[in-house]
Amino acid sequence: MNPDLLFGKLTLDALPFYSPIAAGGAATIVLGGVAVVGLITWLKAWTYLWTEWFTSTDHKKLGIMYVILALVMLLRGFVDALMMRAQQAIAMGNEGYLTPDHFQQVFSSHGTIMIFFMGMPFLFGIMNYVVPLQLGARDVAFPLLNAIGLWLTAAGAALVMASLVIGVFSTGGWTGYPPYTELSYSPTVGVDYWIMALLIAGTGTTLSAINFIVTIYKMRAPGMGLMQMPLFCWTALCASLLAVFALPGLTVAGGLLALDRYLGMHFFTNDGGGNVMNYANLFWIFGHPEVYILILPAFGVFSTVIPTFSQKRLFGYNVLVYATMCIAVLSFTVWLHHFFTMGADANVNAFFGIMTAVIAVPTGVKVYDWILTMYRGRLRFDTPMLWSIAFILTFVIGGMTGVILSIPPLDYVFHNTLFLIAHFHNMLIPGMLFGLFAGYAYWFPKAFGFPLDETWGRRAFWFWVVGFYLAFMPLYVLGFMGAVRRMTYYDQPEWQVYFIIAAIGALSVLLGIVSQIIQLVVSIRNRAQTANLAGDHWGGQTLEWSTSSPPPEYNFAVLPTVCTLDAFQVAKDMGTPHLWPERYEPLEVPRNTMVGLVFGALAFLLGFATVWHIWWLAGLAIIGIVGITIARSFATETTRIIPASEIALTELRWKQAILAQQGDAQ
């Protein structure tokens, strides 16, 4: 039999023996995977993981799994960052320790992972956990679809990780501009891995976003109007709407590029009538809203954390809602500012420059609203609040450099330089990542019933903030000096000192990440002393704090009736934080199902088979996906009933915990 038919392009050459560093990375992934599997087997945890997690459709568990995926991918993306900083700190007048090809794979996977497989899962995880609880809902609108969304995202991430062991990754950067990524210039499978990972994860994200839109519009607690909704839910709604409207841009850009590569079509090729400018437009029609998909939910986290730790109501709720909506709409009107230098007419460039400057208005208003929330409050500086303050101070710098880049003549100079790199890290690290860390610290006690260790949390915070400034302020300077992005090496001696400072910054961030790992270990070890089942760990204002920690599977035994903003705060002010009904009703919840996981596995196989041209496997995977969809539509017993007695018992246990806590307090 012809091996090409069986294995497609896959041969033993796909193993990464081309460089000892790449082989080391692959070995780390393989050994890490083996170690995890071994540990689970040793702990005999497979049944537990399967029944409680992998087959779950509970939004809380899916949320936690999203965050775990994001944290794992954060480690991978950060190792890429460290490798880049080390390379550029060394490579003055020499070639450094990485070959150009390897360095290019590293910056491509860094960007791809941090945007699509760290940022997106992290925020979808937090949204998953928090939004239904804040809405006073028992779950999202489509629990199974939610699970499919998670496992498709995981399948995309798994493809990126697989590229480290089998074959190579793209060298075309996270934007993958053709014609460089066309077959004639990038003949390896790297770009195919990149496309398949994005298309699969993008499908998952679209499904999740539809789910959140429906949940937010249709599943709110009785009496909760849209304007009584916590601000975090508003930002989740805007991000989801953006995802539904914007992701088709990525699907089309990536899909057409794949057709060029696989079927020899001419969408973006240099010959045959292709047009590379179409790609730039399609990609950034997606890409710019994507930035706000990442940042808006983090704004929602800050709008939740800042009032809680100021012990005060959020200032200007209505204004913040309108500002959020404004940003969401405007984000579709500015995509061309990513390629002012493509030679468009001055009128066109000026128009898009003006539209971009407009976005600064609602964003600036938000910053002032957060400051006014703190004004005349009683500020407590726990770690979620520290992240928020660092965000405000750092983000305005990024905003300023953003306005600079939005002015076309300045962009002509700074485009493609390290100034641009510094700018968008200056937006995304404080704007997105600090928000996600704040949310992680803030909702951790809700999710697990015990808080994260504050001491290690503060250490992590300071290492991160100092590391951020050390790593990225020098890049602004280098941008002024004319250093461009994606250089493997350079020959300007005066640049090197700034690259070395940036590398030191990356090391500080490394200490921050190590601190976060220690924090997690210490917190789990001390959980017996710090456990707090009662639920309201921080003195929260929104409904998620009106449940036990962790909340029961059904979230609310009785759906809360809401007539005001900050419903839980108002209930506490009135002295009736909890309602204890006489009698409980049985509740219907979705049964566990392996459909989501199987979907993800089949999508991974489809992606992997397509990358390597193993067509029989790809065909089987498609048949499997269609088959499982049809089979599922014939299933009738998809829910189960939690009996009232079980609910009564759970609620009683929680009530006792609250009474015990009140007893301790007296």
Binding site: D101, Q104, Y180, G343, V348, G364, G377, V413
Partner: protein, 272 residues
């Protein structure tokens, strides 16, 4: 430290861009500086346990809200005028006013070198761009490979070079010097070394450059271009004494340019 950068401009375009930079930063500081002062003040004054005023239910004030919209709006409206005017004034396609006719150079991006054709002088240079100081320079760009972007920070902005299309960049050096030029758009393995020297020289210097090129004896014909366009990392400077007529347009046509789509005066066409 900022030698030959935006902050050490060597021509009117970069000088105007530098002024624009400082203008816009100054304008934005009107909104941004108060943020730093306010945050510092609020954090210190209202930390828990100071006994400062505490208004837990204060969540809105019409007057304050109008104020916080008003300031950014004013600044941004001011920015609009700046953006509109300067974008037109500093349009890379706009010829630079001067008593002298511009020197036209046709730049072709290759893997990973730059070819500069002097069509009126009928010479060409690789990885070296020589031009007279004080005389406008009109660079017409295309690419024989992936997307590139030509930048000489000391003189001004950059513009993409794309296969089958022509883009344009107008610059002027008002002091002699050797400035760094490079491709800023990632293009593959040789990208890091894809630099060239942009030399602004006086008239006699330019004449001697032309003479040097003509004396080189190398002809840039179809075969010569074929050799030149094979991927080369950190290639040497080369000079050509003659260039095949209309080579620039032949290269564009090889990538499917349609004559009606590439009038030199128009900007690169755009997808709708």
């Amino acid at each position: 430290m900022f030698k030959d950068s935006l902050f050490d401009p060597a021509g009117p375009v970069s000088a105007a861009t530098r002024d624009l930079f400082f203008d816009s930063v100054g304008l934005m500081l009107i909104v941004v500086a108060p943020v730093f002062l306010l945050v510092g003040f609020v954090l210190w004054r209202y930390r828990a346990g100071t006994g400062a005023a505490y208004k837990p239910h204060w969540a809105g004030s019409r007057a304050v809200e109008i104020g916080i919209w008003f300031m950014p709006v004013v600044i941004v409206v001011a920015l609009w005028f700046i953006v509109w005017n300067r974008t037109h004034a500093l349009d890379p396609y706009k010829p630079i006013a001067s008593g002298l006719p511009p020197l036209v150079v046709q730049a072709v991006a290759l893997d990973w070198q730059w070819l500069f054709i002097y069509p009126d002088e009928n010479v060409a240079a690789v990885n070296r761009l020589v031009f007279p100081v004080g005389r406008p320079l009109t660079i017409e760009l295309t690419s024989d490979t992936v997307m590139n972007s030509l930048s000489i920070p000391a003189l001004g902005g950059q513009i993409y070079a794309m296969a089958g299309m022509e883009t344009q960049l107008n610059l002027l050096a008002d002091r002699p010097g050797v400035y760094d030029g490079r491709n800023t758009m990632f293009s593959g393995d040789g990208f890091s070394a894809q630099t060239f020297a942009a030399e602004a020289v006086d008239v006699s210097g330019f004449q001697s450059f032309l003479a040097q090129a003509r004396a080189s004896g190398d002809a840039l014909d179809a075969a010569g271009f074929e050799t030149l366009s094979t991927p080369t990392i950190a290639g040497p400077v080369r000079l050509y004494s003659t260039v095949e007529p209309k080579l620039f347009h032949t290269i564009m046509a090889a990538h499917g340019s349609m004559p009606e789509m590439a009038p030199a005066a128009n900007h690169a066409e755009h997808a709708p």
